[in-house]
Subunit: 226 residues, 2 copies
């Protein structure tokens, strides 16, 4: 109760299975007394491209555009574009970040990857020698909740899906100091029976009920690749 949750949602269709998962999360977490904010990326027509437009006003070096340097400088001087500042504010206030999306090509849809690329700039999310357990977004939790096209077996290596989560969970969230909860994966809802789909939705509701008691996973290389 009183916790703040940001759900970054990347599906075009409210009637989709991802849309149902989003609705459930908003309802259940609100019922718990959490304050829930949703960034509905397609509805916002969120810009995924990292360009010069992300910096308001003059560039630090207009001779050769360097996105990483320019956004870092712009963050420090308050010169980032309005849409990025708004997303950063949501992140800053959140205790928990939930990413809800359909897996595209073993990863996030580009619109969500663009959110990571543009929002988590140096100075805000990490800094020189402030990464991983020293990252700047400490004391926050994250959870990747996604649907797949294929069956569980199609993504499992040595019986485990964790390998495709490495770049997202370790390379992004852990890098910024954000703790990572177990992913929530709904396998192939498009090919499942109506009954099975209902079971998957119920399982998500159930998990959310005890979410705040969960321990983060060990997001170290050793846990992934032991």
């Amino acid at each position: 109760p009183g916790k703040k949750v940001l759900i970054v949602y990347a599906h075009q269709e409210p009637k989709s299975f991802n849309g149902s998962l989003l609705k459930i999360a908003v309802e259940e977490l609100t019922k718990q007394g959490c304050s829930v904010t949703v960034s509905d990326l397609y509805a916002m027509q969120f810009e995924p491209r990292a360009t010069r437009n992300d910096i308001v006003g003059h560039l630090h070096n207009s001779e050769a555009f360097n996105y990483g340097v320019e956004t870092w400088e712009a963050y420090k001087s308050g010169g980032l574009s309005k849409d990025l500042v708004e997303e950063q504010k949501k992140v800053q206030e959140a205790d928990l970040l939930i990413f809800q999306f359909p897996l595209f090509w073993f990863s996030m849809p580009a619109i969500l990857k663009g959110w990571m690329d543009r929002v988590l700039v140096q100075g805000f999310a990490y800094d020189l020698s402030k990464a991983y357990d020293g990252g700047l977004l400490q004391d926050k939790l994250s959870l990747f909740s996604f649907t797949t096209g294929g069956s569980k077996e199609k993504y499992a290596i040595r019986g485990d899906v964790r390998y495709l989560l490495w770049p997202m969970q370790h390379g992004i969230m852990h890098f910024c100091g954000v703790k990572v909860l177990e992913p929530h994966i709904c396998y192939a809802p498009e090919h499942a029976s109506e009954e099975k789909r209902k079971e998957m939705l119920t399982a998500w509701t159930q998990r959310l009920k005890t979410l705040w008691k969960e321990e983060p996973i060990d997001c170290s290389p050793e846990w992934y690749f032991k």
Copy 2:
């Protein structure tokens, strides 16, 4: 000689190190007698978002938008948007696909991920039960050429960078039946001396000279996770 190469390039600045790597590839491959095409994604303002706009005309099911189904149907009926058809034509004609980009968050920049999401649609790149060694883009080679922000050690797990390449090389290229050459990685050029940068550029030229004699890597789960 006579080979066709498509370079999909994702950097905003021609004067960048990525820009130099692109220039080298175009010059060296052209000198060899190859026909080289470049998709300069930022210059094209390539759209990374997978939306209803990718389908021209009527939807198969306008009640609930399903991107995968709609683009599959649109591919079969010739109803994909013009920008996608053009990229697919370039892919179809190419013997080799080179992806040139700076690594963003252990993966591709969103603009390049969007190229994967939108261009490699079902029916064109893979189909029901036509995936991996049976994928539809057989007899093509691919090569991921990228720069990093951090040093080699920062990306190595058990001494190897291959784990972060798994979603890209196996999950995308291998899935479509495209063979994968060893990645070409320039570590931290921004922090390197001018001499070291020159060495890295020369190494890329040298590699390209004998590229057509290279054997693809074994892109199987066993190779990655043995």
